[in-house]
Symmetry: D2
Subunit: 398 residues, 4 copies
Amino acid sequence: MERRIVVEKLEQTPKEDQQIELVERKAIGHPDSIADGLSETVSRSLSRMYMEKYGKILHHNTDETQIVGGQAHAEFGGGLVLEPIYILLVGRAVTRVGNDRLPYRTVALGAARKYLQKNFASLDVEVDVSLDCRISQGSEDLRGLYETSEDLSNDTSFGVGYAPYSETERIVLDTANYINGQLKAEFPAFGEDVKVMGARDTDDINLTIAVAMVDRHVADADEYQNLVSTMKEKAHDFATKYTDRNINVYVNTADDPSKDLYYLTVTGLSMENGDDGSVGRGNRSNGLITPGRPMSMEASAGKNPVTHVGKLYNLLSTRIANDIIEGTGGDIKEAYVRLLSQIGSPVSHPFVADAQLIPAPGVDVNKYNSDVTAIFEDHLDNIARLKNDILADKVTVF
Amino acid sequence: MERRIVVEKLEQTPKEDQQIELVERKAIGHPDSIADGLSETVSRSLSRMYMEKYGKILHHNTDETQIVGGQAHAEFGGGLVLEPIYILLVGRAVTRVGNDRLPYRTVALGAARKYLQKNFASLDVEVDVSLDCRISQGSEDLRGLYETSEDLSNDTSFGVGYAPYSETERIVLDTANYINGQLKAEFPAFGEDVKVMGARDTDDINLTIAVAMVDRHVADADEYQNLVSTMKEKAHDFATKYTDRNINVYVNTADDPSKDLYYLTVTGLSMENGDDGSVGRGNRSNGLITPGRPMSMEASAGKNPVTHVGKLYNLLSTRIANDIIEGTGGDIKEAYVRLLSQIGSPVSHPFVADAQLIPAPGVDVNKYNSDVTAIFEDHLDNIARLKNDILADKVTVF
Amino acid sequence: MERRIVVEKLEQTPKEDQQIELVERKAIGHPDSIADGLSETVSRSLSRMYMEKYGKILHHNTDETQIVGGQAHAEFGGGLVLEPIYILLVGRAVTRVGNDRLPYRTVALGAARKYLQKNFASLDVEVDVSLDCRISQGSEDLRGLYETSEDLSNDTSFGVGYAPYSETERIVLDTANYINGQLKAEFPAFGEDVKVMGARDTDDINLTIAVAMVDRHVADADEYQNLVSTMKEKAHDFATKYTDRNINVYVNTADDPSKDLYYLTVTGLSMENGDDGSVGRGNRSNGLITPGRPMSMEASAGKNPVTHVGKLYNLLSTRIANDIIEGTGGDIKEAYVRLLSQIGSPVSHPFVADAQLIPAPGVDVNKYNSDVTAIFEDHLDNIARLKNDILADKVTVF
Amino acid sequence: MERRIVVEKLEQTPKEDQQIELVERKAIGHPDSIADGLSETVSRSLSRMYMEKYGKILHHNTDETQIVGGQAHAEFGGGLVLEPIYILLVGRAVTRVGNDRLPYRTVALGAARKYLQKNFASLDVEVDVSLDCRISQGSEDLRGLYETSEDLSNDTSFGVGYAPYSETERIVLDTANYINGQLKAEFPAFGEDVKVMGARDTDDINLTIAVAMVDRHVADADEYQNLVSTMKEKAHDFATKYTDRNINVYVNTADDPSKDLYYLTVTGLSMENGDDGSVGRGNRSNGLITPGRPMSMEASAGKNPVTHVGKLYNLLSTRIANDIIEGTGGDIKEAYVRLLSQIGSPVSHPFVADAQLIPAPGVDVNKYNSDVTAIFEDHLDNIARLKNDILADKVTVF
């Protein structure tokens, strides 16, 4: 079956030359990211269970998790969670094969609990969280679709990707990860719930950072202010290495010391006190929210990595775009890739496969037509690579 | 307080001249749209309750609703829902004012039930749905923010909008609404769960339509096939009026009569049988999913219309873009608008306000600088208009 | 298979001659009775569904329903329910027969909703109640047990019964039903949540009645007091017809007008405001709580009427006791009957079947041995009669 | 305020002389007992929290817990829990004092989880259980009642108690505890879910024991049969020490090796596979279900130990009865005690307080009138002792 792959030139001001650029990352402890993380970890655990027992991944989609925020009373020196966070795991899975009934819910619950314990240092999962699970059997028709020899798209939907990251994008992504990683290790007062908003105005990059402080590690308002200053400096120094532009950092701008208003939490997570979260509301599969870039609304987290084009095509588009940039030695400034499926057709054969390329001045896009086509063919022929990388935890999806 | 409003020229191939264009609409009965609709109706009902009692809208955000699909057995002539759909309303609200305790949960539940009854003709809300509510009191700090004289942004987030719709966008949007409206009235067999995917390839517009058929109105496979043909013709005729391009319509492409596989439902809604749904996963506030356009990840549905920039700025950006197009008599081909808030600052004063304009050939964008700025100022000065239009049900948000 | 039936004389002061006697009835609107009523109506609806489809009642037990009280603000003239009552239906049922999947949850939900609508005049089921259902498939072993040709006991448990009612018991039972029935019809202000506690001290019968008033039907404290007086008079007049003893009636004794403390409700049901309820916590299968009589802890409500001895044996014991009293023309003053099953044995063959008889003075119990044995045999041989009467709604179980 | 205390002679065949006697104990791992245990541990934890912060126990009732059984697949050598058990904690508590908001839900959840971990050796609480909590604020009126200087009854209800245990009662109680304790320690294959049904027929005491075996500790059917034989012998030897009567022991009578039907579980608890449980459905406060004895339907577990007569009066009645028996040197064979409250009156002043005494032959009950009255007065005057003993974990309630 031949594929129709379109390569077109895009006339567009490249990102770096646009005056205003907005980029956001919700770090790992943001309620929406927690929902993403839980959905994905549940899907991977189910996938591994199916692989172990049956040598293939059976149908499932666990791409819905609802987090209902708790109630907490934070205070300098250490406060209390008053009402636990309620987390509902939702989704569909094969629950029975022949006479075998599968431990789909206990596997899901165990994976979710482990994920929370591993990632959130100040959350006492045993008392701060109530975990519930309404994952159940999927529609029989959809499951029927699944058991064919070739993997067929489970839906009519599309994925999009692009490369490379702009400078501001790279800064926002890396800064958020730096705060969650190295800075968190050094300063236990910084919670995992961090949001970095980057707004570039020509050559000023403004980073607005919200970071939930962990109350037991902050003695008083003075120490809090010191931590805010530390965060400003550290983030500024970190970001400055990436750019010649001017970096301005704002931290916890809703604080108001005159009203004793600080971004203080017991667990380092705003979901402890009324912040709800759900899947697919935050970062796209490349880790960012980029309103000036093509985005898909499909949540990648929690979808099965075999037939769910909403997951596969987003990740694959980004891989294809990256390969295009890498393979064209500076001749292509930006690559935008789109893949559209049609329900019931093989995932390896999209209904539409398309690259939009912004060339460097003087470059004729046409000269790369066959190279770009080859990159598409390679990724689509070997779409199973992506599944394997996901199972090997080599791929992040939010 | 002066505002910084940026107007810049955007070099970009206009939408209509790009080769490939993808546009999707999840109609009113899609699980994600149902979640959106419930969240928004709950927010409006709470807003009205607050207005009635206190003359202003008090803090709330009900922008999370989790739909857990049921189980159903559809069959020609009429089947059965076996396990009800479980719907969990989530969110935050002011639950008490002084000694007044407010009926926030019964108002929410009542509004949600009424919405389902009104919009979904074949759903027996009394037995097919289990409605639960975990809306509770918000964080006290956030509520503190709220009670100031001027409305302050509740978050650092952005909204984006553009105008005008492309031809394909207009066709997708109107066709979906045509199916939900006029066609549904004429053919009760067409359920409300409809998805229209438009993929334009140069001058071919391919519409892939999935429509859940209501089993009691379909006697057998022959009648089903007739209905599919009817849908194809009607949609084709309808769309053709909008364009000189070639329209191809595909309907329920996952059907496989050889395996007795049809898109048949008891209620006209796929959530009856394992399809889950949540808020903010579907259409953006302009009714579409458009990966080739700037999009915000913020759900508009369910957010309060006073301080929640994630709602206000998306709607406002689109209004501003529309006004720009209307006010420039063809000189501007496309307008892209972005508004970014900073938590704690007045909603009427965005941190960034920016228009990117694609001019018609030969037009100098600068000549419209002051006109565009005036449009921004007008909408920001009168941001309360938007709130009032929402309460008057003059605005759709998904 | 022969049965071992024991008939023994009991030396005991007959009830009427004891000095102190305590008897209680929780009327139909008490939270525990509502839980009972819902469980039983669900069981009967499932039984009818199974009968219709398969000609026999398949395994189920829906004898657990949890009512989580709401929050309400009652006030003279009419108040509001603020947070809905949450009701969770729990239990086990056959959910699938061969390839037939059964609508067990929608049947349960529909039956429950209908029951609430029919029985509680001031409850707006649509907004005051959130109904959820976690009924699911039973243990496979238990279901295995069930599908044999003869009905085998599903548990080792016992039932007890006695006859006749004492005077105080009859008064408590009938007065509660009179208030729920005739009085409620005449005075809509009387809610269905009524508790009648009878305490007889020699020849004084004290009836302490708690009745939830429906606020919209009570203009003010004066009208409330009039209603209390009315209740006192009506109940007194009603009870007096049954006895020569002295009747004292106390109504809503926790009221304290000096603190504006009244038993006022929006719905006539205390579950609207924090009173929880569950199955098997209230009346025994004869409609009463009688600490001075043998009682079984087995909830009768919601148990299947085929194999569940916890239901069958309680009802059967009472029928046997009644027949003994009727068949012995005054020679036996009181009859106490016990039936004990052993799991896995036929329900028609109890492990222990025993009658304890208090004879009238001068009567030799032995002369009735064979009559009493015959009554046992008849009821056990024809145990299916009981099932049929339950399905025909001729039997109350709480 | 003087108390009216009635002492009366009861003419009745003493228990030991009756021909048939039925006695049951649901051991600690029975679903109903687990519900009781959770409710009580939650109440005690809340009580301690209130004591610590405010020096007194504030209003709460957590006497409702719903256990929804999971799904499991047991097999010799070790099986799997497939779907977790869902446990819903329900109740009312003071959630806020002035501006202090209390961690009532996290305290409850923590206490519940700890209880499960401590008591059930083969239950993996992290993955086999989903714990949810809907405890919330009580009715304001009831809380008003509570904050007076003297503790007032929260309800019109009664408690009953008796002494001494009959031989069969003592055997059933101690055998169940022996299995849960010493035998469990020796044989890890015996689960905590044990039910002992004692049926005495003159001088034969039949003990029917159901014990859930833990699959990972049972290699095959042979080992299972050996364990059943061991249980029979051990229980027989244990019980024989208590009596000269004949002891017959039956174990797991529903087993059917010809159908591979065994009472095998993964966790030692039948709630893993479809057995639901709730509070107040099992043992009375003296640890037994005794249909031939006066019983109260009030659940003792989970009720607050200050104003809830449904708890206090059951425990107190038993203490009073024990003191009567101990204080009368064999002259009184059996003592039955009843206490009835009236809502709004002090708990120390019951509306009815009554002892029924079965004297030894030739003993005049009247000679003990003043002694018995004094015992009542002592226990009622010092009712706070009971509360303190409960908080010190010196009292069992089921």
